[in-house]
Symmetry: C2
Subunit: 359 residues, 2 copies
């Protein structure tokens, strides 16, 4: 891959393109590729083709999605060999700089690193996490790195699904370290927790849980807590917070997989402690693979995705059904006014959905 | 209603029956009633018939449920005129004694009071809240009161649905004050919040939120917080807790309905403050009815129930479909092993569900 490749990548990342580009590459970027071109491109680790394939996944056009599903299935035998790491924390915890620092170090060590995002605000605003690529300038300049912002639009469940699919393509393209960033508010952290092997909660000192908006449930999901911004005047406070969180974590019941979530301090700014975080993640991976929890978790996740996708697909078919829409129009007011019991209305709508297909 | 009626009610409540019973009443209790007998019995406020109708709602037999749906629809015009009050709080907050005290006072004032429960443990254990009726001896002895434990078994969503239906029957039977008790852990408080007009969070002093297991989300849902057990040596601590929670609540953004959730202290044991809680609930009702929020909330809830019931019913039909069960058997392992992408498997299962009905 020559150095120009990056410029094509940067186009897809929303960074200003360089003054001149090679026409054939522009052609690749613009035209539709065949199934084989997609799969071969992904298998040889071509980031331009990978980015285009992800765009297919994110497309609203049904024919794009059909092709995307074929590509995902073809990638599946080469997928799943990565380590998937979820990162959450409130805005201001320094997630982007943390990813920039740890990602760049690992990429320079020769690892292929992908950074994805699941943004709960994408439902409304059209995405914000990783949207500002200038925040990860160093990492996005690495040949071994692939950064992709949160898919925008659609439901949060849809966003999560497209991120899972993107993960499979990245793995098939040889990215064996996948970071998935999200914000620790709402439902998104539960969704990200359900698609990763390791879940890191990034905190900062000087604010209680309450103020950081971190729910108890998120702390329970965390495989590690890292107190970021442990630098300069803040160092002591970070160390104090570390102790407090460590004793708070002791109150949780022991886990079935035998892992005791540690609390570390680090500084994405100075780099202090960052590689300790990484070493801990590696020892988690080793330990979980040895005791079988790693594989058991993956298997459980795949079945959960199946159940969730069936639910999403079936409900989408229901709500988009023209006859249901029409009938709903007439019963909706009656239910809203309290003239028709919701249970009865639901029963007749579900019966309509099933019976209309006999005709 | 003569004084013997209570003894029949007590049978359905699990309290020991009196030595002798009138045969004709036993017959009513045992035999199947007709649709008309049910509806007329409910309309005249007969608690024995009401209890039997609720048993129909809770039945696992499809023909019982069909009859139950007819009865609910018939009761609908007489329903909805009550004030529905949800009560949550951790075990030990004194919910049962609070209900015993406030319920007995209101019943003795001549109000007809129903106490229902949504128990998240019912999925597993078969119900525990309100199960021990000896805890509400006074209230269950009141002619104006009707107490019904949480329906046992089934999913939490199913339990919530049967409680909503029970609420409609109680209203049609003239119970114009309905309390719905739940435990402030898991999802049940969200479900109860979605079926009531007023949501009361009962707390005790001397334990932080964290220790009480109360999630931030529950505090946000509360229309009032009452610090119970404000008595004796505990009084001062309760008053201090009241101040702390009051200032914590000030940090939440103002509500659209203009209500500012107050924090009160009370003692279910001595009765102190109990009627202040009631006065506050009444002023909430008045204020919300004046500004239209009361009705708007009810309308919103009915539409949410419709959506939720459709989802539950449709998914139940899917999972119980014999052909789906068979196909699932074969794809499940492939998905679990990572040989088949969950999205693709889901797509083929949903297509099977829809297409098999053409034949």
């Amino acid at each position: 891959m020559d150095s120009r490749d990056k410029s094509y990548l940067s186009v897809s990342l929303g960074v200003a393109p360089p003054p001149s580009v090679v026409p054939s590459k522009v052609a690749v970027l613009r035209r539709r590729l065949s199934f084989n071109e997609y799969v071969e491109g992904i298998f040889r680790g071509d980031r331009v083709v990978l980015a285009k394939a992800i765009t297919l996944i994110e497309s609203a056009r049904p024919q794009d999605n059909e092709l995307a599903q074929e590509i995902i299935q073809a990638c599946l035998p080469k997928a799943g060999k990565s380590l998937r790491i979820g990162i959450t924390g409130v805005p201001g915890a320094g997630k982007s700089m943390f990813l920039e620092t740890i990602g760049t170090r690992l990429a320079k060590e020769g690892r292929k690193v992908a950074v994805l995002a699941v943004d709960p605000s994408s439902e409304r605003s059209g995405g914000s996490i990783l949207g500002d690529k200038t925040r990860m300038e160093q990492l996005s300049g690495c040949e071994n790195a692939f950064i992709r912002p949160s898919p925008s639009g659609g439901t949060l469940g849809g966003v999560a699904r497209r991120t899972r699919e993107t993960m499979i393509l990245c793995e098939a393209a040889g990215f064996h370290l996948i970071f998935v960033e999200t914000v620790g508010v709402g439902q998104s952290e539960t969704l990200v927790h359900g698609m990763v092997d390791f879940f890191l909660l990034l905190m900062i000192a000087g604010a209680g849980d309450e103020l950081q908006g971190i729910k108890r449930g998120i702390i329970e999901m965390a495989d590690m807590m890292a107190i970021n911004k442990a630098e300069g005047e803040n160092l002591q406070r970070a160390q104090l917070a570390r102790q407090e969180y460590a004793s708070a974590l002791h109150m949780f019941p022991p886990r079935n997989d035998g892992w005791v979530p540690p609390v570390l301090t680090c500084s994405a700014l100075t780099g202090a402690g960052i590689m300790d975080v990484w070493e801990t993640i590696k020892s988690f991976e080793l330990q979980m693979k040895e005791n079988g929890s790693f594989d058991a978790n993956r298997r459980r996740q795949r079945l959960q995705w199946l159940t969730q996708t069936i639910k999403d697909d079936l409900m989408a078919e229901f709500w988009n059904d023209p006859q249901i829409k029409e009938r709903l129009e007439s019963v909706r007011d009656q239910v809203e006014n309290g003239d028709l019991y919701s249970g009865r209305a639901a029963g007749s709508l579900v019966a309509l959905f099933r019976n209309q297909q006999y005709r």
